[in-house]
Each structure stands twice: as structure tokens, then as C-alpha cells.
Subunit: 137 residues, 2 copies
Amino acid sequence: MPKADRLSPGAVKLLQETQVANFTTLMPDGSPQITPVWVDVEPDGSQVIINTSVGRLKEKNLSRDPRVAMLVVDSANSHRWVMVRGTVVERDLVHAAAHIDKMAQKYLGQPKYPYRRGPEQRVIVRIKPHHITETGV
Amino acid sequence: MPKADRLSPGAVKLLQETQVANFTTLMPDGSPQITPVWVDVEPDGSQVIINTSVGRLKEKNLSRDPRVAMLVVDSANSHRWVMVRGTVVERDLVHAAAHIDKMAQKYLGQPKYPYRRGPEQRVIVRIKPHHITETGV
């Protein structure tokens, strides 16, 4: 279903699992950069959500150019995947510390995120899809 | 080991496994696009290799702008991954049909690629890394 702007229930379900997302941003020269990230999703499929730290490469990239892309492939079934091209529509600093703990609960089964690097400032990044491809979901 | 231009032996080993690569190209407007692909690698780590069809979105993208990025995450261990930013340095039409059969052997255990779409023209795409990040390999 290309060109949808909302994830289907099956795609939402994939992103609610402990899957790693492959997240692409654009470098200052416009070339692509890609990194593995934990992923969250609005239950209605309207936004995908990541949580990073202010000043990291991908955060600097998406703050400069909000055009991003994300691919989530089921680690147990490579024919089940969701691709999202979209735009960063919100950077939320206020709720980010609580949210990364929620992500730690999801991915690690731990109530507190254990990888904090000193005084890092977490940031929730909300992405509105404008082109979605879903396979096998 | 960021900024290396050659994959380490451990990274080569990861790409020699049946891992899915997450492959990013640039759309005509410069925004990123990402897709799952099978991946091959030169044993010396000097190039990563994919095989696609002429006229597909990613093939049109990389023919227009050779700047690409690829992330391979071990499907069994998300802390073991390799990221490559690089440039398409060769498009090989001549050996592509034999090569996609080699890929089918690797990924499917079948001697012939079973997904041909009529008269499609396969193409081997060779990518020279210019920035590599390796974790846990």
C-alpha cells in the first residue's frame, strides 16, 4: 500500500514488537546516513517515534533537514517489513526522559534506561509519514 | 572504527551470512528512500555489492546520485551491526544474471533466482565505502 500516510494496524503491530528500526537522515552535504534505533509508534499509525540525544549525528541531521526514512524488518521473517518516508514534525525535550525509560521497558524489560551518558539531553522525535510501503504485515 | 574505507574481517563475515541489508538511496528531491536487499561483499572488505533490476526505484535513484548508505544488523543480535556510507562505483549488467543466482543460492539455498519478473534486466551494483561504523563484529 504505497503512498498511504498512516500505518495499517498490522504495521503498527510490527513496530510495537521489539524490532530494530533502520533510520536514515541526511548529512550536511545531502548524502544519506543510517543507524539502528529503537522505535515507538502512535497506536493509530499516524506517527512513528524515536528517542535520541541532542547533539548526536542523526539528531543534528534531522534538526537541519527533517526529511527521514525508516525501515523495520521483522528479525524473524525478512518478508514482513514496513518502510516509512516522512518528515520530522516535532522534537519534544520535555517528555523525553520518561519516554526513554518506557523504551527501555519495551526493549530490555527494565524500568530505567541503563545507557545514559552523563548529562545527555534526550529528545523524542515524531515523524509524520508521507509514503509507506508495507509487505507481509 | 569510523572513517575506515574497508570492512574488517568481522564485518565481512556478517555480510557473508544471510542477513538482510537496509539500503538507502536518494530520491530526485534529495530525500532518503530505504529498502531491504540481499547483500554480497568482496572478501577483502573493499566493496559491498547488491543486485537489483534496471528501472526500479532504488536503481534509478543510485544511477542519478551515487551516494548511498547501508546498514546490516544481525537478526539474532541487534548489538552486532555494520553501517557503510559509500559511493556506487560500478553498475555491471553483464554478470548480473549469474550473480543473482549466486545470491539465491546464498539466501534461499536454491540454484536459480525464483522471483524474476519477465524480461527484467538485473544489474550488479558495487559500492565503495568511505565511512564505516562497526559494532560488535
